[in-house]
């Protein structure tokens, strides 16, 4: 146990030492305390942002650590969103089944990722081809789901309902002493997601600093050498792909439960671009940077849509270009490195 905790910091994650963890504690305390000061909308909106972060963290693992650019995050997002809908519409929400539905839906996404990833990585498809094929799969799934409007397209009681999307699934519920606790997008859901997010973040930190993460970055840096150190490169890439895709699936179920709605356009071209933007802008090489970057970009673009209207997409596109050119490691990583350099300089040696 202690050994695991020691893996919370290591060469693969920025931010270590007491200063970082103190800052982490402060941020966490603020996150815990802030619903007391904010209105319902703000809290619900933040919870909504949290829904997306898992997908970004998953892509960070696949792309930033594993070096494989997947455009397929939204395919798993959509798949498990629909799975959540189908399961809960058929079984209902009693006895906390929604939690079981989340687990099953994420498992389904992981299973599909394992299948697709087996084909990709064991077929030695890498580099830009991986991106193109994952994108094709995503768009094919969107097109397929878009035409399921007819009444024959149903799984049990759940109609897939084509492009209009599937709705009517229950929100998350937790079994409680006096009846189920419904996690409407409000304070309760916020805390549930915050807890889940912190666990996922810390879990991923342990994972990337452990043996697995070491091998993963080795593969990113030089796959041939990694293989010649006796590692089965395909297996590790597949592992990262499955975990990352499962996280996208988790995002999908949470989003579906949040809005009680899932649509094929969640898998469309623009949707598929979003995780790449979040991760690239924040800094794909580091989990903390991805986490911070994703929240910042989500909030920033929502604000931009409210105030800057139609220029949001232009800014988004240009931001991507500028980041790739000027700060290829990502804005947050650049910022954190800058801070670290300052910190090192301060106690003059």
């Amino acid at each position: 146990m202690l050994r695991l905790l020691r893996r919370l910091e290591g060469p693969q994650t920025l931010g270590r030492g007491p200063a970082f963890w103190a800052a982490f504690a402060v941020v966490l305390a603020l996150a815990v305390a802030y619903p007391w000061f904010a209105d319902g909308y703000t809290v619900g909106n933040t919870a909504y942002f949290f829904c997306w972060v898992f997908m970004a963290l998953g892509l960070c693992l696949i792309w930033g650590y594993g070096g494989a650019l997947s455009f397929g995050q939204t395919a798993f997002f959509g798949l498990s969103g629909y799975a959540y809908g189908v399961l809960t519409l058929n079984v209902g929400a009693a006895y906390g089944f929604t939690i079981a539905a989340v687990v099953l839906a994420v498992a389904l996404a992981a299973g599909f990722a394992a299948l697709l990833g087996y084909f990709l990585f064991f077929g030695r498809i890498g580099g830009v081809f991986l991106g193109i094929i994952t994108l094709s799969v995503t768009l094919a799934m969107e097109r397929f789901m878009a035409q399921t409007a007819g009444p024959d397209w149903r799984i049990g009681a759940a109609r897939l309902n084509g492009y209009n999307g599937m709705s009517g699934m229950p929100p998350l519920t937790v079994p409680w002493f006096d009846g189920d606790l419904v996690l409407f997008p409000d304070v309760a859901l916020y805390y549930a997601l915050l807890g889940l997010l912190v666990l996922t973040y810390l879990g991923l930190r342990i994972l990337v600093n452990a043996r697995f993460g070491n091998v993963l970055v080795a593969i990113r840096e030089n796959p041939e050498r990694a293989e010649m150190l006796g590692y089965d490169v395909r297996r590790y890439q597949l592992g990262a792909f499955v975990i990352g895709s499962a996280l996208a699936g988790l995002s999908g179920t949470l989003y579906t439960a949040w809005g009680q709605y899932i649509t094929p356009s969640s898998m469309g071209l623009t949707a598929a671009a979003l995780p790449v933007i979040w991760v690239a802008v924040g800094g794909r090489g580091d989990l903390t940077a991805t986490l911070v970057g994703t929240l910042a970009v989500l909030g920033g673009f929502q604000a931009l849509t409210i105030y800057g209207s139609q220029y949001a997409l232009v800014v988004m596109g240009l931001l991507l270009v500028v980041v790739v050119l000027a700060a290829p490691e990502g804005l947050v990583v650049a910022l954190m490195r800058g801070l670290a350099r300052l910190g090192r300089k301060a106690p003059a040696r």
Binding site: W63, L69, F119, G123, R124, I125, G126, G127, V128, F129, G131, I132, I133, L135, S136, V137, L139, A140, R143, F144, Q147, L269, T270, A273, V276, I277, A280, Q310, Y311, L313, V314, M316, G317, L318, L319, L320, V321, V324, L325, P328
Partner: protein, 290 residues
């Protein structure tokens, strides 16, 4: 006569699908095959060519000149983009994908803001001809011929001109070419420009047959990628046969089961090709690394 009717109808559909795939893919294939760069803004170059063609034609230029103008403008913008963005990303193929995606998003929405949500078209020229019980658009036959002409032109450009020799030398052994005094940067810029100009040409050619909207590039992009992935890096040995096979798959499935199956069939074909010829694609990747 009925048989002839049906055969011609199928050939026409095959040629139509083939032309669309070749024209959609050729610019992408040049840039990818020669430079190893995947250009996700490819569709926006097509859109750019279409806009320029329509604007100049409506301003009074004859359509063929308008199409040429579209190709030239797209090519020029392509070279500017190469200078500003792509050049700094050689050797970082994944970053190039991300950056060109950014360009694509910004270009689509930027066009919407500046030029509005749609533009009046120019109308399809040349009318129609009738054979048996079907009537056909003559212009689409022109498109088929244009696809063949583009393939032939590319073959000549890269095999029979000094630029072509230099380009291939640069791509195969960059430092050798540099040592021989070739300005490799210029070669890359020109190659990217040619790719963009081809995309612009495609946009111009299809402009009279489509609604002119900022998102029109996206209707080409999937087909372009599919063709390039199946065809591989070599434009002549890869793209043309790939377009032929995929065109047959699509025309066959569409006439048999409808448009949805035509589309899904394309994607299944890609996955099958990659499954059957994994060495082909991985061999490609190895060559690209070497």
């Amino acid at each position: 006569m009925v048989l002839l009717d049906t055969v011609f109808a199928f050939l026409y559909q095959l040629g139509d699908a083939f032309a669309f795939l070749v024209l959609a893919a050729c610019g992408l294939a040049v840039v990818f095959g020669m430079m190893g760069v995947i250009n996700l803004a490819h569709g926006e170059f097509i859109m750019c060519g279409a806009y320029v063609t329509v604007a100049t034609t409506r301003a009074g230029l004859p359509l063929p000149l308008g199409i040429l103008a579209g190709a030239l403008v797209a090519g020029a913008i392509g070279m500017v983009l190469e200078r500003l963005v792509i050049r700094h990303l050689y050797g970082r193929p994944l970053d190039t994908i991300v950056a060109t995606w950014g360009v694509s998003l910004a270009a689509t929405q930027g066009t919407l803001i500046v030029l509005g949500s749609s533009m009046p078209g120019v109308g399809t020229p040349l009318g129609s001809f009738t054979l048996g019980s079907y009537s056909y658009s003559t212009y689409r036959v022109v498109l088929m011929l244009a696809a063949l002409a583009v393939l032939a032109g590319l073959y000549l450009a890269f095999n029979a001109t000094r630029f072509g020799t230099l380009a291939r030398a640069t791509i195969q052994v960059p430092h050798m070419a540099e040592a021989l005094g070739v300005d490799t940067r210029k070669v890359y810029a020109l190659t990217f420009g040619i790719g963009a100009a081809l995309a612009g040409l495609t946009g111009g050619l299809y402009a009279p047959t489509m609604t002119i909207v900022p998102t029109m590039g996206t209707t080409f992009i999937m087909e372009a990628f599919v063709t390039v992935v199946v065809g591989g890096a070599d434009i002549f040995l890869g793209t043309a046969p790939a377009a032929l096979v995929l065109g047959a798959v699509r025309a066959g499935l569409t006439s048999w089961q409808g448009q949805l199956f035509g589309q899904i069939g394309l994607l299944v074909a890609v996955i099958l090709v990659i499954r059957v010829l994994p060495r082909g694609i991985s061999g490609l990747i190895l060559r690209e690394r070497a």
